[in-house]
Amino acid sequence: MTTFVELLVNGISIGAVYALIALGFVIIFKATEVVNFAHASLLLAGGYLVARLWPVVGFWAALLIGVAAAALVAAAIEFLVIRRANVASHSVLAIVTIGVDIVITTELTRQIGTDVLAMGDPWGSEVVRFGGVTLAETRIVALVTAAALITAFLLAFKYTGWGVAMRAAAEDAETAALMGVRLGRVSMSAWAVAGGLAAVAALFLCVFPTPGLDRSTSLVALKAFPAAILGGLDSTTGALVGGLIIGVTESMMSGYQNDMAFLGRGIGDVAPFLVMLVILLIRPAGLFGTKELARV
């Protein structure tokens, strides 16, 4: 039972981190109808900066810079590539983001080499015990932070002028423009927010029990794609639920993999994609989505 609770809490925690990534992915899709395949590279860029800067400026300043830089890079991609690309279809833009991803990831991977970079976080490998349940401090901080950021985002989305402009533009861009909404700003801010969230996620993907940031970190980030897609690419609720489903599934599958040896080793890594496939077979638009993926 304690194992189960530990796995569950860890799953929810990692799921909340996936949800941060998936949420950014969904915001970008809602605002610009572009599937952003460069998302993992944004995450890597933010995480890399934190890892490189903390020995110089300290952890908190490094985190701040990493988040701001990822937001800036994302906004720059929107401004320089997405907005300028004078192409007819959103599928072409999605492919363009693959190009951007390759450029950024290749350069960062070269910089990282074979190193494993510590994140310099204050939580280290401390654990907390509640009764018989042992949890890493990092997992608890990740859960609380992700929950706070997601709540703040959803409140802003619902109640601020920015949120109203976002939703109006997502629902009907032409009419939003007719009402004076500046679509360029909406889309750039969506990218920036997504980039910032990805950088925070990078931190929590690379802290204990993970040894640190290395060149495979962007592969870990890929698990958030199924989270976004199974939730429905255009649903913020979907991103949250999708993130949690993926996180808990992965955690449970890894935790109990000895009992499920018949499924083969490493099932925890494949599970997110299996879950996504099964859900898409049943609901092609994802759990909460309104647009079928065929539209992408």
Binding site: G161, V164, A165, R167, E171, A177, L178, M179, G180, V181
Partner: protein
């Protein structure tokens, strides 16, 4: 306040020519009607003024001015910023957002005071929007959606309002209600460019009108002149001579 003027407007959607040299003027404070059958280019004219042709892959030559400012080449949000606001054909309310949020979307970027003032004005014009404030706009009736679309545009504080077929598909009573509202909005000082297929209604409101046919202005004059014109009586008001050429039949069939 300034006159809205369009001169020599030529608009194409790729190879399709939708406007071929259209010129017209909306004097400050007036109601001007644009009449014409489906496909005549009425919505295209409003798109060219509002700067939304790029959403339809359209391109435009010619000049749109408001007083001595050029609107041509501005993006849609900047045109709204100059006080020219459009209520698009088919209402286009944000169906997934509440009535209140729709109004908010219309008044983004205005000061708190201007916003509150516009909000009071809209509530006074359309009390039903206040009652339905928290309801999803998609659940409103067609007439209520039209009210919301007009109210949303008013939230932007327009000096010139562009209305694209505001009574299309509405029951006669509701259409009359909208007509009254347009009169009221105009009496408060807003110029109106009214695109309509309901010719009788449009001519009752407008001081001046233009008739568009296949992208060209074929008739223009004061509303009184057009009401008396044989051409308009026969083709658009269905009065008079029953003898019609092929062209007339084509147009008339679309009015029914």
């Amino acid at each position: 306040m300034a006159d809205l003027a369009v001169s020599d407007l030529v608009v194409g959607y790729g190879p399709v020519r939708a406007l071929r040299g259209v010129s017209m003027r909306v004097p400050s404070g007036s109601i001007v009607a644009v009449l014409g059958a489906n496909g005549a280019g009425k919505s295209t004219l409003l798109r060219a003024i509002s700067g939304t042709l790029r959403f339809h892959r359209g391109s435009c030559q010619g000049v749109v001015t408001l007083g001595d400012q050029r609107l041509t080449g501005l993006d849609a949000a900047s045109v709204v910023g100059r006080g020219v606001v459009q209520v698009p054909e088919g209402r286009r309310v944000f169906a997934r957002m509440t009535v209140e949020e729709n109004l908010r979307a219309g008044g983004l970027g205005r000061s708190r005071r201007d916003y509150a003032k516009a909000h009071d004005q809209v509530a006074a014009l359309f009390p039903v929007l206040k009652e339905r404030a928290r309801q999803r706009a998609g659940l409103l009736s067609g007439g209520e959606q039209q009210m919301l679309a007009i109210g949303r545009a008013l939230m932007a504080g327009p000096t010139t309002l562009l209305l694209d077929e505001p009574t299309l598909g509405l029951a006669p009573l509701m259409a009359a209600r909208i007509t009254e509202t347009i009169k009221e909005i105009n009496s408060l000082g807003t110029s109106v460019l009214l695109v309509e297929q309901n010719v009788a209604m449009a001519l009752s409101l407008a001081s001046h009108a233009y008739v568009l046919e296949v992208g060209e202005v074929v008739l223009e004059g004061t509303a009184a002149e057009l009401r008396e014109s044989d051409e308009v009586r026969r083709r658009y008001l269905g009065i008079g001579d029953a003898v019609e050429g092929a062209l007339e039949t084509r147009t008339l069939s679309r009015w029914s």
